[in-house]
């Protein structure tokens, strides 16, 4: 009896903590935007038709990345109501790198590492209140990180 009770509790925990999250993957992967080979097409496919420059987005990336396979990128948005953060590496074969949908109780902050095929502008877009904002930085890449 005790073993059975433990078993049920275990199953409940397992279902809540592990199985459900995988099934709850919410957003449909944006194949059109990720497949786009031109920055303009990627922007169109995420719905960013009008974009304002903003000094309220902080992008920390190296000016020179020795290894294009590992370029650290840290983003902080100070735009109220930040819903989504996008990373775009202009000269990558497919420029859109990542989309982060952020809930209201998550800080508009992301740190990750991306691959860059060659020296390029890195753009960070923020969607807030349905509008798009952008900041960008040039990153020089010594050794490209896509093929090889």
């Amino acid at each position: 009896m005790r073993a059975l009770a433990f078993g049920s509790a275990y199953v409940a925990t397992f279902a809540a903590g592990w199985l459900r999250p995988v099934q709850l993957l919410a957003a449909q992967w944006n194949e059109a935007a990720f497949g786009a080979k031109a920055v303009a097409d990627a922007l169109n496919n995420i719905g960013a038709t009008s974009i304002a420059d903003s000094d309220q987005i902080q992008l920390k990336a190296p000016e020179i990345a020795e290894n294009g396979a590992i370029v650290p990128v840290e983003i902080t948005s100070r735009i109220p109501g930040t819903q989504t953060i996008y990373i775009i590496a202009d000269k990558n074969p497919q420029p859109l790198v990542a989309i982060f949908d952020i809930a209201s109780n998550t800080e508009p902050f992301i740190s990750t590492r991306i691959k860059m095929g060659e020296s390029s502008k890195v753009r960070v877009l923020v969607k807030a209140g349905g509008k798009f904002y952008v900041t960008s930085q040039e990153v020089k890449v010594t050794i490209g990180g896509c093929g090889g």
């Binding site: 903590g17 459900r20 992967w29 074969p93 949908d101």
Partner: protein, 100 residues
Amino acid sequence: MKIRAQIRGDVADVKVLMFHPMETGLRKDPITGDVIPLHFIQHVVVFHNGTTVLDAQWSQAVSKNPFMNFRIRGAKPGDKIAVSWEDNKGEKASIETTLE
């Protein structure tokens, strides 16, 4: 997969390391010369006590063995933070930690 979470005030600072080749589909096997097929994590979802707090879509241009650092407000000791990923081949992995 590895996860490390620290609470500062009511904010949980969470660092996650995923183990995945993140193949671009552009690399060739150095011995056979065959192209290594595209294989990458497409979706990463973060849950705070079961509620989605971060939903990410990725391309193959996120670095191999992806690292992600994010911060969740309104966190307290005992809360559970879970991270799940799914790749373009339907492979999945999850990890969960309890805040201390």
